[in-house]
């Protein structure tokens, strides 16, 4: 016990001495959360669209102004089609709307009038938005303009409700998930670096030759980085709730528990990587590849897991961030939903135990 205490204290000293620890535990999370909050914007998509009107009848001025007055479209008028095409090639506009010269005539004759919408498919997501916005605006204009033409007919009205996030604020969804990515930094990367540095410098070997038991060595690393991670997590939650005004509807105690399980899997993963690599370069890259990138891509943070192919979905089961993101998003937006927390926690606990056992097995007590 005394040995463990000494090891933990030594580790804390080392942590405090290196400014990069503070950088990774507090400054980097803060910067990243700011980027997620201010630079990532998944809900209001304003797209630049070019408009060329070949029909010069006064009738359609209201259509043009409905394109001008929507918050979704930044409209640019063109007279020259070639110029418009060139601008789309350059990426200055993401779509083109062309109203042909027989448009109003055909409308008056009650024939199907045509409008061409051409999008920049190389920005696949935006292309979808352009097409949908344009169709919706045209439909709305048509309904307004020709109200008196509408015969009385039954309609099916959709009453849409978005539970847990009525206004569909995407930051409420991104920030709680982003905490998982940030935690991989302290959990996997920092742990991997610290342990592999000890192997690289030979201090780990020196430690092994002493009376210190393996459990002491392991716990001597687990405890300090676990504490640092929890403090860093608390700081992250503070930023989300106080600075960025994300609601927190669950219990903080449950959140602390779930974070603890998550952190244990991360530290385990980082420790295991460095035990196997014993080299800071390899360890940091493995941490990036096995920890950070999967947490960003396969955890359901941005991209929905259920839409992925079966094989990738299967793979995501081994990413502990997936379980944490599920819990975190629920705790922030929905509250305490045990149907989700309990299975997810069990997965994380099992994972962390497996990692601990593997580290125990691979930390050689003798030198080779």
């Amino acid at each position: 016990m005394k040995i463990l205490k000494a090891l933990v204290i030594k580790e804390f000293y080392q942590m405090m001495r290196d400014p990069s620890t503070m950088l990774i535990a507090f400054i980097l999370p803060f910067i990243l959360l700011c980027v997620y909050q201010f630079a990532l914007n998944l809900d209001t998509n304003t797209v630049s669209v070019g408009l060329k009107v070949e029909d010069n009848k006064a009738k359609i001025s209201s259509l043009i102004s409905s394109f001008e007055n929507t918050e979704y479209i930044r409209l640019r008028r063109y007279d020259n089609r070639k110029k418009m095409e060139k601008d789309m090639e350059k990426g200055e506009i993401r779509g083109m709307i062309i109203i042909p010269n027989n448009f109003s005539t055909r409308i008056m004759r009650r024939e199907a009038a045509q409008i061409q919408v051409i999008t920049d498919g190389s920005e696949t997501n935006t292309a979808n938005f352009v097409a949908n916005y344009a169709s919706a605006i045209i439909q709305k204009w048509l309904n307004n303009e020709y109200k008196y033409w509408r015969v009385k007919r039954p309609t099916v009205q959709i009453v849409a409700r978005f539970w847990y996030n009525e206004e569909l604020n995407s930051h409420w969804f991104i920030l709680p998930g982003a905490l998982s990515v940030i935690m991989t930094l302290v959990g996997i990367l920092l742990t991997a670096l610290v342990v592999s540095r000890e192997w690289e410098r030979g201090t780990m070997e020196a430690l092994i030759t002493t009376k210190v038991t393996k459990t002491d060595i392991l716990l001597g690393k687990y405890i300090p980085y676990f504490c640092l991670g929890m403090v860093s997590m608390a700081f992250g939650v503070f930023c989300c709730v106080v600075l960025f005004q994300v609601p927190f509807r669950g219990s903080y105690l449950v959140f602390a528990l779930v974070s603890a399980f998550f952190l244990l899997t991360l530290i385990g993963q980082g420790f295991l990587i460095s035990t196997l690599a014993k080299n800071q370069f390899v360890a940091s890259q493995a941490a990036l590849i096995a920890g950070f990138l999967p947490a960003l891509m396969l955890s359901g943070l941005v991209y929905p897991i259920s839409s992925m192919p079966k094989s990738v979905q299967f793979l995501s089961n081994f990413i502990s961030a997936k379980y944490f993101v599920g819990c975190s998003q629920n705790l922030f937006m929905a509250g305490n939903i045990w149907d989700i927390f309990i299975p997810n926690s069990i997965f994380m606990i099992v994972m962390s135990v497996i990692f601990y056992l593997l580290i125990y097995r691979f930390t050689a007590q003798r030198l080779d």
């Binding site: 920049d120 097409a131 039954p154 099916v156 959709i158 996030n165 991104i174 891509m297 396969l298 937006m333």
Partner: protein, 369 residues
């Protein structure tokens, strides 16, 4: 002089190549990640599970439910008896959306009144809900039209003809693969350089390098060249993967691809070397590069478009080489981007390369005295 640089370059190659673990780490992951993430990073929503509470249970309401079952986007439809089960399904995220049809649905339809259907989306998955609500309206609109064909013929109609240029079928996979080729090129470029100076400094060999006859300028070339070559090779491999395995047609010029890739990698290597040269330990160097890499990835225009960011962040992306390289790579793959557009996008990248490489050089120089 060239002889000295050449020796240094050989040594640098050797130090990357020597360790089998780092060798594997450099070549394998980019290609594996390209294949996995290409399928993962999709904004398309598929395999939707849904719950239906049909209180009306008439021919009309069942017909509406059928529409969802037969849609390609949906996978499983659960029917429940009461509201409690309904909300529990949504709460526990068993389903992504729910539809509730009231008892007066068919009565209102027949009476030519407004028939309401309640759609519940899970706001916890903001993006998905947004897309789902789009799918839902199109399904319901189609249902409305089919059921009341007669009411529509005498109305003025506008046909919106949508064409998608450059990626005709809007294949999401093509878009992600090409974006990933650019992103992973950055990851690998940073990976190769971030440690090169810091590691030597930690071990002490950097001092030896400085007291050797090598000039700072020569050290800079020696440190820049090997990562540049390796990263270019990996970029080529990823590009070939995109064309031959993912079957994405490459429409632009090969030369423009290489010119811009090399300028881009120079900027990345410059950033890596600069960070590495100001750090005392490897740990600091790794964390320093993360400090650059993560915001750079998020602000590359891949996850969310640059045009929607606040002006301050938009200005900041001027120093983000990946933002411009992403435009170029997408342009070359999909649009056959002409040389003048490529070069306008390449200028800021070139500026970043010059500045960061000069800063790294200055750091090496400073170490001499």
């Amino acid at each position: 002089m060239w002889n000295r640089i050449f020796t240094l370059i050989i040594k640098e190659f050797y130090s990357i190549w020597r360790d089998p673990k780092s060798r594997t780490l450099i070549f394998l992951p980019p290609l594996v990640q390209l294949c996995i993430f290409a399928y993962a990073a999709t904004m398309e929503v598929q395999n939707i599970d849904m719950v239906i509470l049909d209180k009306d249970n008439t021919v009309e309401s069942r017909e509406l439910s059928e529409r969802f079952i037969h849609s390609v986007w949906f996978r499983k439809i659960y029917y429940v008896e009461n509201e409690k089960q309904f909300s529990r399904m949504i709460e526990s995220q068993k389903v992504m959306m729910g539809m509730e049809i009231n008892t007066d649905f068919s009565k209102n339809l027949k009476g030519r009144k407004e028939a309401k259907v309640q759609m519940i989306f899970d706001g916890r998955q903001t993006n998905v809900s947004q897309i789902l609500s789009g799918y839902t309206s199109s399904i319901v609109n189609q249902y409305e039209k089919d059921v009341f064909k007669s009411g529509y013929n005498d109305l003025p109609r506008v046909q919106v003809q949508v064409r998608h240029w450059f990626n005709t079928n809007l294949t999401y996979l093509d878009y992600t693969v090409v974006s990933l080729v650019a992103t992973l090129a950055m990851v690998i470029g940073i990976l190769l350089t971030s440690l090169s100076v810091a590691r030597e400094r930690e071990i002490g060999t950097f001092d030896q390098l400085i007291v050797s006859p090598l000039r700072p300028f020569e050290i800079l070339i020696g440190k820049t060249f090997p990562p540049l070559v390796i990263a270019t090779i990996i970029s080529t491999m990823m590009g070939l993967f995109a064309v031959f395995i993912f079957k994405i047609p490459y429409s632009g010029s090969i030369w423009l691809f290489y010119v811009s890739t090399i300028v881009f990698l120079l900027a990345i290597v410059g950033i890596g070397l600069f960070i590495s040269s100001i750090c005392r330990t490897q740990q600091q160097a790794i964390l320093g590069t993360f400090m650059f890499q993560m915001p750079a990835m998020l602000m590359s225009g891949y996850i969310s478009p640059i045009e929607n960011m606040p002006i301050f962040f938009q200005k900041l992306t001027f120093f983000n080489p990946i933002r411009f390289y992403m435009v170029i790579v997408k342009g070359l793959f999909f649009k056959n981007m002409p040389a003048d557009v490529v070069f306008t996008n390449l200028i800021p990248v070139g500026i970043t390369a010059v500045i960061t490489l000069y800063c790294a050089y200055w750091m090496f120089n400073r170490n001499l005295d």
